[in-house]
Structures are given as structure tokens and as C-alpha cells.
Amino acid sequence: MAGHLPADIRPWNVRRDNGLTNAIMRETLASGTRRFSEGKRQVFQGYESQEAARQAGVQAKRRAVAHLDELLERAQATIQAQGGTTHVAATAGEARAIVREIAQNAGVRLVVKSKSMLTEELELNKELAASGMRVIETDLGEYIIQLARETPSHILAPAAHKNRAQIRALFEVDAQQAHLPPPADDDARSLTQFARARLRQEFLAADMGITGGNFCVVETGTVALITNEGNADWVTSVPRLLVCVVGIEKLVETWEDLTHLIQQPAMNGIGQRLSSYTTLISGPRSQFGEGPEEFHVVFVDNGRRSLVGTPYEDVLSCIRCGACLNVCPVFRQVGGHAYGSVYSGPIGVVETPLLTDFEVGAELPSVACTVCHACGEACPMDIDLPGHILRLRQEKVRRHLTARSANWSYGMWSGAWATPAGYRRSLRLARLAQKIYLRRGWLRNAPGLAHGWFITRDMPKVADITFHEWWAQNRGTGAHD
């Protein structure tokens, strides 16, 4: 069954141009993605054991995807045996209802969250807010965009499109409402200090914590959370209720599988051997210990299972490291918002239409990829991103999802070039037709679809004589000896 993802209904060219004209975002993303990619290159150098671990991790993820149903059953049994409660949601709507009911039954008024792409996918905050709860994002970047009522522009740097002055302005309004002194200055340190004090109020008052999960280990019933800020540790330790919302593709079978995978997100995403905090939670607090009194894990499908057994199955191995975003020439220019839903960059191009059966992001495979294959090289989980993008393009043609003008143009082109005679004819035609667009020996424009290409580029004119023609005229006349 297809899943649902939130969608920005503005057309691609509007979203794209918004990205291209946002100077702040482009500057932050340019330096951030470069730093991350360079860090990744360095961290693997002289650390061969992690290459072996990566390969073992890929195998573990592939095995898990092939046995999802069985693993899901077993994971639930383990978590329940350790005192946790489990839930399974087939759709986004079900997942929202489950979390809302857990919260309502416990009389929750204030929820603190650590970063989770899945809860963005579910638009969970809206649901809880509609039931009268306050929901606070505690990852600094997420908090900033929550105050701005926006969505993340990069998986790892959600507020990359905001500058310090804008953030200070948001914090000043927030400080007034929270009766706190505003940030002392607009440098990153002062702003972070303000957020520390501000979010501390919420952490201490919260009744419920919500997290995602980077991995979920079947054998031990463990949810693994990886952060650099330490907010997940507040969320898991302080409120009396903890709900981890986990995509079913996050399951891995054994504790050993986890040991191979645990370093991969940080190594590949930001070039660190491990993030500052790795938190492993396997149940509610024991009698005197620390942690939540109630521990819930909500497993969410929302379109994931429909990929099992298809050529796209490996997409479910994604560990959301962000490496493919960091190397993508399209992402680095347009940023995350242009992709129109939760997932951006190459993985977004593939996953958004797949999870929703082309309901959202159907345009992405055609417009947001240059087929440079950088993402395929970067992906630590060996996901065939470039192959999938091409496959999705083919599928769009099969399903008649491409624009009529594009179909017509490409149909003409492929018809013409399918035979040598057709090819020769088309060149003769082009040589004649180009006269309209020639300026000082260069082709400056062209009709139809090709017009867009010429907005920023010129092309040498079609040669007066092609190599084939030259060869036919000169063959055997000593042109080669």
C-alpha cells in the first residue's frame, strides 16, 4: 500500500527558483556540504576496519529488509518482554492516532522531541497540537525552524537557510513569551546559550518525549539514537513517558549487526568516527533506575513495505546519513525545500515518488538529477540511487506521467535517430533551421523544449560537414594511411 508524505504544492520551477535565489541558504549549504564531504574522505583514511564494518552493515540491512515481517514480530516480543509497549501502524494516519492516544491517555500537555525525519513525514506535531498539546522540537536547528514555522532544508542542518540575524529575531520574540532574557548578541555562541536555557525549561516541564530511531535491534529490543547535541538524552531520561517512532526499515536483527552499523551515520554524514552521543534504550526504567516509566515503540510502514520484492528494495537500507545530499550538484544549488517534501537530495528524488506511488514528487526523477552518479558513489549502503532514478524515469514514461511536450520531442528525436538515414536527414534539417538562431558563428537559441537549455548556454553551430560526410568524400584518397 502506498504511503502519504506532506507535499509542497507549488510547482518545481517555483520551488527551485526560491532555492536558487536564497543567498543565505546557498552559502551555508555550499560550505556545509563541502565540509561534510571532506570530513568523510578524511575519516575513512587509515581506518580500514570501518570499510569492512560498512560492508557487513550493508549485508545486515539487506537481510533485515528481506525478513521484515518476521523481524517485526520478534522485535515486538522482545520489547514487550522487557516491559515496553509496541504498536504497529500501516499508514501515517494510524501512526498519528496511536501517538495521540498514548499522549491523551496519559494526560500529556507538553511534549519534547528529538530530531526525527519520520515524524516530519507523519506531520505528527500538527496532530498533537490540534489535540491541545504543546510540542517542542529540541534539536537546535529544528527548534529554529519550528519558531519560523518552516521545514528542514537539510537532514543534518535543518536551519541552513537561516542567518544569525534572522535567528536572533526569532529568539527575541520567543524570549519575551518565555520570560527569559533575550540572546546577549547575535554570534552563534550567544544564540546557542539562549537556546540551551530556553529548552531546559521545556525539558524539565515535559510529560512526554518523542524520538525517532536510527536503528532498532530485534534481538535486544534496543532503539539506537545518535545526536551531537545531547537533546535525545534529555528526551529519553527526563519525561515520564517515552515514545520512539521507528520506520520498519530501521530494524536490524542482531546486536552484532548494530556494532557494524553504529559508526556509519557519523562517518559518512559528517566525517566523525562517532557522534557525541549514542544512546541505546531497551526498556522503561527498572525499579530505581533512570529513564521513562512508560516506554512505547511505534513501528511505522507508510508505504515502505510496498518496496519489498521490487527492484527498489535496497532503498529501505538508507541510514539517513546525508552523504548523497552532500555530493549532489543539484541539492547543493537548490537546497532541501525545492524537493517539496520531507526527503531531499538523491534519496528524496527516489524515495518520495516511491513511498507515495508517484502521488508526491513524481517530477523529481526527471528534473532534479543530472545523472552524474556522485550519489551512487557516496552511498555507504550501496543503494543504486542513479540506477533507480533512471528506472523511475522509465516508469514515468510507461505510466504516461511525463509532460506531453516532452514525450513528443523525445519521440521525434528517437524516431529520427533510430536509422542512419533519419540521423542524416535530421542533421541536414538542423543545418538549415539553425540559421534563424545563429549569431556570430554560435547557436544562441532553439525552439520548443531545447529553449530552456539555451537560457544560460550557447552551443557551437552544427558543422558544415559531419565526420561521416567527410569520411565518405575522402575515404581512399590518402586521408589515412
Binding site: T28, G32, R35, Y47, A53, Q82, T138, D139, L140, G141, I144, A157, P158, A159, A160, K162, N163, I167, A188, L191, T192, Q193, R196, R200, F203, L204, E219, T220, T222, N228, E229, G230, N231, D233, W234, S237, V238, W255, E256, T259, I262, Q263, Q272, R273, L274, S275, S276, Y277, T278, T279, L280, I281, S282, G283, R285, S286, Q287, G289, E290, G291
Partner: protein, 205 residues
Amino acid sequence: MTKPWAASQERLVQMFEVHWREHGGELFRVREEQSWPHVLNQAWTTLLGDQGGSVVYWVNADVAHLNWENWLRRCGAQAVYGWDAADDMRSRCAQAVLGLTGSQWAVAETGSVALIADADRGLLPSVMPPAHIMLVSTQHLVETVQEGLQQIPGSHGMPPLIKLVTGPSMTADIEGTLVVGVHGPGRVAVILYDTVGTLGADELR
């Protein structure tokens, strides 16, 4: 002559030091029990300067006999609370200037320290105060994350809460500028200690 075991342990110590410092963590070493008070003082001064305030702490069994409370007071602590699961622990941790904790094991090749919560050991002292000191026995150094994690699912089943600390709390969410001390401690130190000897009676008081 160094014993082979000691030599390989020393290699791990050096590896740990490189990676722990890489993240901006401070490192101190206690080779004999006599130097604890002095080293603790050094660590305090490095993290907190001459700042005073309250401290929440727990330590591992092998150093539990030492006089932590007294030493911490001499460093500048105005109040010292040993960890227990009492309800007011949370507010004590929230007010403390320093959390001092033991650890389960530490990983040399990543510079990470493992903390496991149970009835006598909470993780809040590692989360809430602005500074955190961790005591790590050199005997509990392992080379890889994998070696460390393999020790965990023991015969008593899974501990509900495990944490690996690999450096200070940090963020680069504002214009990509690295800032430490977002939600967790911005200043972190490890004191690596060797197998215990005996302290003079004076020191223990």
C-alpha cells in the same frame, strides 16, 4: 621491562588520548592513588576555573572507598551529592556545575566512554550540568566500539539505558559555526586511572 599486557594497554591509552582530545575533550592521568586529589583539582580548574557550585557524583566500585566528597569540596564544591534515585536528584543535577561519574568501558579508536544506568548510577549527571568528568580505568579500555558493545547483553539481560559519550555536546546548526555546550556539557574531561594501590590514612580522611 614492560609486560606485554602493559605495553598493549599503554598503546590503547595513547590511542584513546588522541581521539578523545580530537573532539575537544580534556584528559588527565592518575598512576598512583596518591595523585588523585591533585589530579582532580587540575581537572576542576581546567573545566571550571575558580568557579564554585554543587556537584552530583557516582564512581565505580574500585574507587568507591576514596574520599570523593572531601576532595571535591577542596576543589571548590559548595555542596556534594552522591547519586541516588531520590526524586530531588533531577533538580540537583539541573543546578550542579559539575557531574562526576564513573564509566563501564571506553573505546580507544573513537575516544568514546560508555555509561550504563542502573539503580546506583544515573546518566543525568552526564546530561544536565555544564561540565562533566568521567573516571575511566585503564583496565577497561578496549580498542573498538564493537569490542565494547559485545560485552553488553550480559546474563542479566539488556540494561534499559546505555550511552556512549564521544566528546562535548555540540552543534553547527547556526550558519555552520561549531559551538559546544548546547544541551549537554560543553566541557568534558576523562581521568584515566591505573589499578589502585593503597593510600595513606591521611589522604583517605
